[in-house]
């Protein structure tokens, strides 16, 4: 519906590795260019020390003529030994040029790699957002918001780090090794073995070390969590702390986790020191081996000073990035967990998956609503609503009364198809709800939920949501009808006042009124108000009801409320208990009939007479 995603067949669960390669495959040409550029850049970078080597061997140190075919070629490229000897600026400039060329390819490589990796992340985030919006409410109600949010943020971030930094780093290290070995072999085979045999050890050391100390990272995270929890608890409860004069007690309470966090982190530092010192030592030993063995070979005429110089320079380029590999590889486990967690969301089918027919009439509905033996339950054993039969004519107002848990809100959820009923039929204008296109269906409603949700935007944007075309005048009118216009005017920025974190906090009643304005502005054929006036004071309630009354006939209205003043205006009232309709009637008939409605009515009238007497 909103994207191609929903039309394709539901995604099958894939293994994390296949998921990653599928993601990378989407940008394969960008990754391809990046890889090619990286090879070229590395080749050019390696050339820089080789120019030095060739110059040393052929121009500066000509004592023993053991010539090396690769360095021979390099010096010939520069114009031959004689020419270089008379103009030493040539190798100097060549070094700069090769370095710049390497730099340019490096730049291109990084650019493409970043575009590919960040592109994948962006797309993944977009798809996740889209998918979540389309998930059935059943899934959203059952899952924990915090958990879902964590998957969308920290798991995605883990993935981003992996794609944008780790993949690139691993690729770079392997390309460095893959490129340096042939170059070294061309210079001197024996020295190559000496110069590289510690590299696998360096990688494995990192891998196993971090695998072993993984637990401590978790412990540090946990003790940080504990500390933050204490701080949070203390600051949100600071009034209690002050009320009981418990500052000293709190300071003592804070000291322990604070100390523990410090100790845990110092412990981690010790592990880090234990790792980096030997790891640096291994790198230095590898270079040292090349230096000593190379020198020994040079003395025996098996190699040259230039070659030795080249080996040392190449090792310096390759070794330092390579030693990070082990650490990155240990993080792979974390990435796989994150990908699987994200995947779990993607494998949840969207709510429209089983919609076969999707009627989308080109005109709004008239508003004839009919429940026929409708039953629904969240769980197998206990029905939430049972055998509901009820008709509302276009333009009529239906009021629903009942204690909490009686099933009133469920009826609304069924009408909006947040849930589908298990048995019976629900129809609007004679069309079965299940045949209607969901977005068309929801477009027919103006809804005020029990706990209205407002977006962190301006008030005007909030009211305008759902009816983007509306004129400012209409927005104001809707706000007046919902008795919120004057309140808004009193805010510093009026309708442009930001709500939420960056702006002001509205009271429960104000939120409800903004939501009512939003629903009215849509001018919908059907208006659903789920306890929408509970936090509004009596006078305002009266005014809003009068305003809604003026709309009478324009929309079919369904109201859930507890105050008789709200209910009395309805054309029809149903009283619900334990998921069933137990009474149906109007204000007049229900006040005469024994039941909840009458009892509530009596409280009202009895008081009036008793107190005014």
């Amino acid at each position: 519906m909103t994207s191609s995603n929903s039309e394709s067949s539901p995604p099958q669960p894939k293994s994390a590795f296949r998921q990653i390669s599928a993601l990378i495959a989407r940008h394969r040409w960008k990754y391809g260019i990046a890889t090619a550029c990286l090879f070229l850049a590395t080749a050019f970078e390696f050339f820089v020390p080789l120019i030095g080597s060739a110059t040393i061997d052929h121009v500066l140190d000509t004592q023993d003529g053991q010539s090396n075919p690769l360095l021979d070629r390099v010096i010939r490229l520069l114009g031959g030994p004689d020419r270089v000897e008379s103009a030493l600026w040539i190798p100097a400039v060549a070094m700069l040029l090769f370095s710049l060329a390497g730099g340019i390819f490096n730049y291109v490589q990084k650019r493409f790699a970043a575009q590919a990796s960040d592109g994948i992340c962006k797309r993944l985030k977009d798809e996740l957002y889209d998918h979540i919006q389309q998930l059935p409410n059943k899934y959203l109600d059952q899952s924990q918001t915090g958990d879902l949010l964590q998957r969308c943020t920290s798991d995605i971030e883990t993935m981003r780090l992996f794609l944008a930094s780790h993949v690139v780093e691993i690729g770079r290290s392997f390309i460095l090794i893959a490129t340096v070995v042939p170059v070294m072999l061309a210079l001197n085979a024996k020295l190559t073995i000496v110069s590289t045999f510690l590299i696998p050890l360096i990688i494995l050391y990192g891998y196993f070390y971090f695998k072993r100390v993984k637990a401590i990272f978790k412990e540090v995270d946990e003790s940080e969590g504990k500390l933050t929890a204490v701080v949070q608890e203390n600051i949100t409860g600071i009034r209690v702390v002050r009320a009981f004069g418990r500052h000293d007690h709190e300071i003592r309470r804070f000291a322990q986790p604070n100390r523990e966090f410090r100790e845990k982190r110092i412990q981690l530092t010790r592990h880090m020191a234990n790792f980096w010192a030997p790891s640096d030592m291994l790198n230095l030993v590898q270079i040292g081996l090349a230096l000593v063995v190379g020198s020994y070979m040079a003395i025996n005429g098996q190699t040259t000073i230039g070659t030795l110089f080249g080996f040392l320079a190449l090792l310096n380029i390759v070794l330092w990035p390579v030693r990070m590999i082990g650490r990155i590889l240990t993080d792979l486990g974390k990435t796989i967990v994150a990908i699987n967690r994200i995947n779990e969301i993607f494998t949840q089918p969207v709510e429209t998956r089983n919609d076969q027919v999707a009627l989308r009439p080109d005109h709004p509905v008239a508003g004839h609503i009919e429940f026929q033996n409708v039953s629904f339950s969240h769980s197998e054993d206990r029905p939430t609503v049972q055998d509901i039969t009820c008709v509302v004519e276009p333009g009529q107002t239906l009021a629903i009364l009942g204690s909490s848990g009686a099933g009133k809100t469920t009826l609304m959820n069924l009408l909006l198809r947040f849930y589908d009923c298990d048995s019976g039929t629900l129809s609007i204008d004679g069309m079965d709800l299940k045949q209607l296109d969901r977005s068309y269906l929801r477009d027919q409603f103006g809804v005020v939920l029990q706990e209205p949700f407002l977006y962190s935007r301006t008030i005007e944007e909030n009211i305008r949501f759902g009816s983007t075309q509306a004129q400012s005048r209409a927005v104001e009118q809707a706000a007046r009808a919902a008795c919120i216009h004057e309140t808004i005017q009193n805010f510093n920025d009026g309708y442009k006042t930001e709500i939420g974190e960056r702006g002001i906090t509205l009271s429960g009643g104000q939120r409800q009124r903004v939501a009512i304005a939003r629903a009215i502005l849509r001018d919908p054929p059907i208006l659903l108000l789920d306890d929408a006036l509970s936090a509004v004071d009596n006078e305002t309630e009266k005014a809003i009801i009068e305003a809604l009354d003026r709309r009478r006939g324009k929309s079919t209205t369904i109201v859930i409320a507890h105050r008789l003043s709200t209910l009395a205006h309805a054309d029809k009232v149903i009283v619900m208990e334990k998921g069933r309709i137990i009474q149906t009637g109007t204000h007049e008939t229900l006040t005469q009939e024994e039941g909840l409605y009458q009892r509530l009515w009596n409280i009202q009238t009895e008081l009036q007479s008793k107190l005014t007497a």
Binding site: R259, A273, V292, G294, S295, L416
Partner: protein, 615 residues
């Protein structure tokens, strides 16, 4: 949930004075700071000597010495390597430990100060920002203090040590190669700052994306009813595009910077080859020295990059530093005055059960508000010329519209705020002449939202009096009718209630907070909307014990439950900071004024909700 990290603009200047003050925290750990500095300097010297090993080795080959002569460069190299590894170990240990010690100390001091500050401070500070001050800000500062300091020392000494080594080897060549430092410094400071800004942009966009997911998930029902899925998605897409662009921009900055500094390194090496090569040809310079110079030239990048990064970080973290130091420079305004401290000192030896620690009588017979006025900001008057006299044993109910000043009255009484005009007297003595600790230990307060701490039930009740015995805890729990539900829990009084008491219902939490307020047997008992968020059943339980709670104390009750209000000795209807109506329930009902209206409305509401809950 974690508090949002505050992102600050990167400031243009480095506020030396501020960092000096912050550095005091590091100076407290001289035991670690001295080895850290020493190892950073030693490390820089050793690193600058490593290329010399190559020089020695090459010279052995160059001058055709025997193979045995190789022992010297080999020993030199491996000796340096070993020393270097040991130093790496030492500085990681020291820098890490210092950083965590500093972080611990700053947090300890900030936390302590936060406990002392008065309500007015908290009114002006959003909770989230205080939490992030204590967590993210402190960690950032401690990182900079330890690692930034290390990098700075190491970087500066590395450059100096390399320069000296080079100058000793060959002055002319050294000066030539050293010129490459100038563009390095310029480029590094230029790019590092921009890279820092770009990284912040990424974080900022990331935070927006998180907020957007949050809104998307919480508001999914509303979004569906408004049919806004498509618009939401396209808005989200524009945010994720911003994030994409920022990430790519950051990557590109790095992609330009690194090749440039590497190229400068090649210029240095090239110069060494060119000029040094010519000298080598003429025999003025050994090949070994020239090779050493070539590798020196490639290494200047590292220290200069580090220094530039630290300086950029300092600019970036300055605002965090200002916030933390600002908090530590804020002192509580409400505290014992000099004369009170003197009195406490004077009566130190003569404290007994009838006298408080400040020498006055412990027993509160009478509380008097004399023309008390209160305003937060001079413009908006919250309390105006408030007069009231209460005797021991009396209960005062405060009713009226929200924002009328009811809570302010009890806050001023508790001395969370002090009157801005007039005075509040205990037994005829201005309470500013009394010990603050004494006063606040006479209070038992129950707030609207019962804030409990994570821990067991008995720990929470004991919060009211830390030395209360288990028997005393049980007996107050009985008074407020909490004993029954507590005994029914699996672990009774030792049940852990979770964060904020999450494992209990609101009503149960409120019962515990009543017990907590009572366990200290306070002389003044305050209920601030304490029964507004609880169900009828709990309300009935509390009601039962209410008379025993009020007995023999001075009680102030802000309430809208009629049963609580009706039994008060005096009811004050507070509107716009003034007493609009005052009297007993019957007197005020006869008046048929605001109280009468309020009563009628509330009565109806309570009956209706009783009816709905019962069915």
């Amino acid at each position: 949930m974690n508090a949002p990290l505050e992102e600050d603009e990167i400031q243009n200047n480095i506020n030396v004075d501020l960092w000096k003050r912050i550095f005091q925290f590091a100076l407290a750990h001289k035991r670690l700071l001295i080895p850290l500095t020493a190892s950073a300097i030693a490390l820089s010297v050793i690193e600058s000597l490593l290329p010399i090993a190559t020089k020695f080795a090459v010279e052995v080959i160059e001058f055709g010495k025997p193979v045995e002569a190789l022992w010297f460069p080999a020993a030199f190299y491996f000796g340096l390597s070993l020393a270097l590894s040991i130093l790496v170990y030492v500085f990681i240990r020291c820098a890490g430990s210092i950083s965590h010690h500093i972080s611990h100390d700053i947090k300890r001091d900030c936390f302590k100060r936060l406990q002392e500050l008065e309500f007015a401070f908290y009114d002006s500070q959003p909770t989230g920002s205080l939490i992030s001050r204590l967590t993210a800000d402190c960690d950032r500062l401690s990182n900079i203090l330890a690692w930034g300091f290390l990098d700075l020392v190491w970087g500066i000494f590395f450059v100096i040590a390399m320069a000296i080594t080079m100058l000793i080897l060959n002055v002319e060549l050294a000066l030539l190669v050293l010129t490459t430092i100038v563009p390095l410094v310029f480029l590094s400071s230029f790019f590092r700052k921009r890279m820092l800004i770009a990284s912040r942009q990424i974080r900022k966009h990331n935070a927006r994306i998180t907020a957007s997911y949050n809104e998307g998930i919480h508001g999914v029902k509303t979004t569906k009813t408004l049919g806004r899925e498509r618009e939401n998605l396209s808005e989200f897409e524009s945010m994720s595009s911003d994030m994409f662009n920022a990430s790519v921009r950051r990557a590109i900055l790095g992609a330009i910077y690194l090749p440039l500094v590497v190229a400068i390194g090649s210029v240095g090496s090239g110069l060494a080859l060119w000029y040094g090569g010519a000298n080598a040809l003429s025999g003025d310079l050994s090949l070994g020295t020239m090779i050493a110079f070539m590798s020196f030239a490639g290494q200047f990048f590292f220290p200069i990059n580090q220094i530039a990064m630290v300086l950029a970080e300092l600019q970036g973290a300055q605002a965090a530093g200002e916030r933390v130091m600002g908090l530590l420079a804020t002192y509580p305004k409400i505290k014992d005055s000099e004369s009170v401290i003197a009195r406490i000192e004077q009566h130190k030896s003569s404290v007994d059960s009838t006298h408080a620690l400040d020498g006055y009588a412990n027993r509160i017979e009478r509380i008097e508000f004399r023309n008390v006025g209160f305003t937060y900001n001079e413009k908006e008057i919250v309390l105006d010329d408030f007069n009231l006299s209460v005797k021991r044993g009396q209960t005062i109910a405060l009713v009226g519209p929200s924002g009328g000043g009811k809570s302010t009255i009890v806050s001023v009484l508790s001395r969370f705020y002090e009157p801005t005009s007039g005075a509040l007297e205990f037994n005829g003595v201005d309470y500013r002449q009394r010990s603050l600790d004494w006063l606040q230990s006479q209070l038992g307060i129950v707030l609207q939202t019962p804030h409990l701490f994570n821990g067991t039930i008995s720990e929470n009740i004991r919060y009211g009096r830390l030395d209360a015995t288990d028997e005393e805890i049980e007996s107050v729990a009985r008074i407020v009718n909490a004993h029954e539900f507590i005994s029914n829990l699996e672990n009774g009084y030792e049940t852990v209630i979770g964060e904020g008491g999450a494992r209990l219902s609101t009503g149960e939490r409120q019962l515990i907070s009543f017990a907590r307020a009572l366990v200290a047997d306070p002389q003044i008992f305050i209920m601030d909307e304490a029964t507004s968020s609880i169900d009828t059943e709990t309300e009935a339980l509390i009601q039962e014990g209410m008379q025993r709670i009020f007995q023999g104390r001075i009680s102030f009750v802000i309430a809208h439950r009629l049963s609580t209000i009706r039994s008060a000795d005096q009811i004050l209807f507070i509107r716009e900071g003034k007493i609009a109506e005052q009297g007993t329930h019957t007197e005020l009902m006869d008046l048929k004024g605001s109280y009468f209206d309020l009563y009628l409305k509330q009565f109806r509401r309570e009956r209706v909700s009783d009816e709905l809950e019962a069915s």
